[in-house]
Amino acid sequence: MKYFTYHFEGRISHPIYQGILADKFIYKFPSINGNETISTFSSMNEHDLTVLSTLTFEKNIPVLLNPSQHYRLMGHFIEVVERELPAVEIILMRLVEPALVRMAPAMFMEKVFVCQDTAPEVEDLQRLGKSFIVFRDYIKIHSFVAGNNTVYVDLYSPGEWAREFDAIRRDLIELGVDEIQKPATGEASDGRDQRHGA
C-alpha cells in the first residue's frame, strides 16, 4: 500500500502546564485507604535509595512535566486527533514508565495502544494497510527518568491528509511544543519508512 507520511518533531522547553491544577481524575491515587499523595520514591527505603545512588542519570535536562501532566499531554493529543482526524484507525503511543497516577481517560479508547517501542508495530500496521498516527515522546518526567524533552508525531495515511495533520501540528505548537524542523510534505512512500528508531 502507498502511504502518505507526515512528520512533526518538537521539543518542550518550558513547563507547558504551569499554573494549571492537575486533573483530578488523573491525579487521584487509587488506594484502599484513599491515600492520594504517596509516590514511588517516598515508598523507598534505605536499600532502595542506595541502589538508586549507584545509578547515573543525565542531570542537565530539566524536568518540565510531572507524570500527571505527561498523561494530560498524551490525552490531549488523542482528543486533538479525534477532533481533526477521526478517520485515523489506530493511535500508537510510546510509554516506558507507567506512573503511579492514572492514565488520562482518552488513553483507554479502543483505537489507542500504548507500548514501549512503537517501531515493530509501525511495520505491522503498514503491512496490514491501516491508517495510523504515532506519538513518541522522550519527555523527562522525573530526575531519574531518561529523556530529552522531544516529541515526535508521524501520520501514515492512505490519502492526502496534509490539512488535518497541519491542524494537529499547530495545536501542539500552541500548547507549547516548539517545532524543531519543518514538517515534511505529504509524500507517497512504499510503506517502509525508516525514520522510526527507538
Partner: protein, 293 residues
C-alpha cells in the same frame, strides 16, 4: 462457549532475588532470556492453530526502570530472547496497563487484525534492581515473581467476552468486583479466576461475587504475581481436577494498581498443554522445582 480458547500455557515461578545484585542489566536480561525463552519456545511448539500467531507480545508490571533509566533498549532484550524463542520471539513490549496489560493487548491485536486467530502473550515480572518497594505492598501484600506464556485462539465470532475498563473512583477493589459481577453470570459453571490478594482484600471480592464459582486464593502460596495471577489460578484449578474430560470455562480477571482491569471469558479444552512450575516452598532461593501438572 466463549469466543476465546486457551490452547497452551506455561507458568514458571522465579526465585527472589532473581540474580545477584552485582550483575549488569545486560547479564540479568541474559539470565531472564534463558528462563523465559525456552518457555516461549515450548508453548509455541504446541501451537494447535494452523496459522502462525498474529502477534507475540511481552508484557509486565515490574519491568520498567531498565527502560526509563535507559539502561537497555527493548531491541536488545528482544534479540536476547530470539536466541531461545526463535520465530516465537515477542516483537512488542507493553507495561502501560500494568497487571491488566494482557487484556488491552488482546483488544488491540484483534482490532488491528480482525482476521487474526491466535495471539501469544508472555507476562514476565521480575524485580530487576531488587527494589524492596516491589517486594511487598499495602494492597497486594507479598509479591510473587515469575513468567507466564499463553497461546490464545479467537473464534470467528466473539461476543462481549473481553472487557477492558478502568476505575473512575478511588475504591478500585470494589469497582473491579462490581465489573466482574456484571460480566460473570450467577449460577453458571464458569469459574471466575481472580488475582491473588491478602485475605482482607479477597474478602471484599468474595462478598461482592457471592453466588459465583471462584478460584481459590493462591496468595499464601504464590504471593501477588501481578498479571499472571488469574492464569496461575486457572492452572491451579485445572491441576486439582482429577480427570479433565470436558471443556472447563473460566473468566480470567486482572486488576492494575491504577485501577485498570481486564476480564476475559476463556475456555480450556481437555488435553491443552498446561504447565505450572514453582520453586519448592522450602527453597525459594534454591533450585528445586516441582511440576503440578
Amino acid at each position: 462457549m466463549s469466543g476465546f480458547t486457551l490452547r497452551a500455557m506455561s507458568f514458571q515461578e522465579f526465585r527472589s532475588p532473581f540474580c545477584e545484585p552485582w550483575l549488569s542489566i545486560d547479564d540479568t536480561f541474559g539470565a531472564l532470556a534463558g528462563s523465559i525463552g525456552p518457555q516461549i519456545a515450548s508453548v509455541g511448539a504446541s501451537m494447535p492453530c494452523n496459522a502462525e500467531p498474529a502477534g507475540h507480545i511481552l508484557c509486565s508490571t515490574l519491568i520498567r526502570e531498565c527502560f526509563s533509566f535507559d539502561h537497555i533498549p527493548w531491541s536488545r532484550v528482544r534479540d536476547g530472547l530470539h536466541e531461545y524463542a526463535g520465530r516465537f520471539t515477542p516483537t512488542v513490549f507493553v507495561n502501560a496497563y500494568e497487571c491488566a496489560s494482557w487484556g488491552y493487548i488482546l483488544r488491540y491485536y484483534f482490532l488491528k487484525n480482525p482476521a487474526a486467530r491466535c495471539v501469544m502473550i508472555t507476562i514476565a515480572d521480575v524485580n530487576l534492581y531488587n527494589f524492596s518497594l516491589w517486594d511487598e505492598e499495602q494492597i497486594w501484600g507479598r509479591s510473587g515473581y515469575g513468567c507466564c506464556t499463553m497461546l490464545i485462539e479467537k473464534a470467528e465470532e466473539t461476543s462481549a467476552d473481553l472487557v477492558t475498563g478502568f476505575s473512575r473512583g478511588s475504591n478500585i477493589i470494589m469497582e473491579f468486583a462490581i465489573a466482574i459481577r456484571k460480566a460473570a453470570q450467577e449460577g453458571t459453571d464458569r469459574i471466575v479466576a481472580l488475582p491473588f490478594f491478602p485475605a482482607n482484600v479477597r474478602g471484599i471480592m468474595d462478598t461482592v461475587l457471592k453466588g459465583r464459582r471462584l478460584t481459590r486464593n493462591g496468595h499464601a502460596r504464590w504471593g501477588h504475581s501481578f498479571g499472571s495471577d488469574p492464569w496461575i489460578a486457572i492452572l491451579d484449578s485445572v491441576g486439582t481436577m482429577p480427570d479433565m474430560r470436558r471443556v472447563e470455562k473460566f473468566t480470567a480477571c486482572s486488576l492494575a494498581f491504577n485501577g485498570y482491569y481486564s476480564l476475559l471469558d476463556i475456555d480450556v479444552p481437555p488435553g491443552a498443554p498446561l504447565v505450572l512450575v514453582g520453586q519448592a516452598p522450602a527453597a525459594r532461593m534454591g533450585k528445586d522445582e516441582y511440576t503440578l501438572s
